[in-house]
Symmetry: C2
Subunit: 91 residues, 2 copies
Amino acid sequence: MELKKVEKISKALADPNRLQILKLLHKNKSCMYCSDINDVIDLAQPSVSHHLKQLSDAELIIAEKEGREVKYVLNNKIIDQYTSFLTSLKV
Amino acid sequence: MELKKVEKISKALADPNRLQILKLLHKNKSCMYCSDINDVIDLAQPSVSHHLKQLSDAELIIAEKEGREVKYVLNNKIIDQYTSFLTSLKV
DNA sequence: CAAATACATCGAAATATTTAAATGTATCAA
DNA sequence: TTGATACATTTAAATATTTCGATGTATTTG
């Protein structure tokens, strides 16, 4: 995995609200809508939208548009790639 | 692993210079001195010192004082703990 | 088509991070 | 003990991130 990509994923993971969103997605078996996340995270809607975009840009989550809602799905694959890189750093 | 700790490690990993330092430590089998890192990283000495402190505070590296030099060692254990947390997020 | 809903984008303020020059501290060597 | 070396800390400037109100854009519903 490219260092630039590792940096981007790390940045996405470096915020308590975004970590909470990922935990929520895990708990709810990855299927959550933006409004559900808005209900739980104690931030204004544009802030949540911003965080979801960062997670999405890092490919940690995948946004699936369903009518006027957006469903968010955890991207297991990129987590594997990221952890593989980190493991490869070990001596 | 605590979310606060995950956040701190993620922050430490979210910088190109710090990632490069970790790669250097891996390449050199974890045994490097501050001055060696200064030679390779294109930053002033206080900046490198600052980055090493962040990696050290996140426990990604361990600083071992040897006389007037400091040797840096990769902390495999914390990498394992961090990747375990990330893996546990998967659905 | 008009109103409502769900989410995104813009703009701006508050806060955090990165960087380096200047300086400080500890250790070694002569 | 004096000068040099290795690294840390302080201070301050530049830059990036976080946050939210206001507003914009689709989509659905009546």
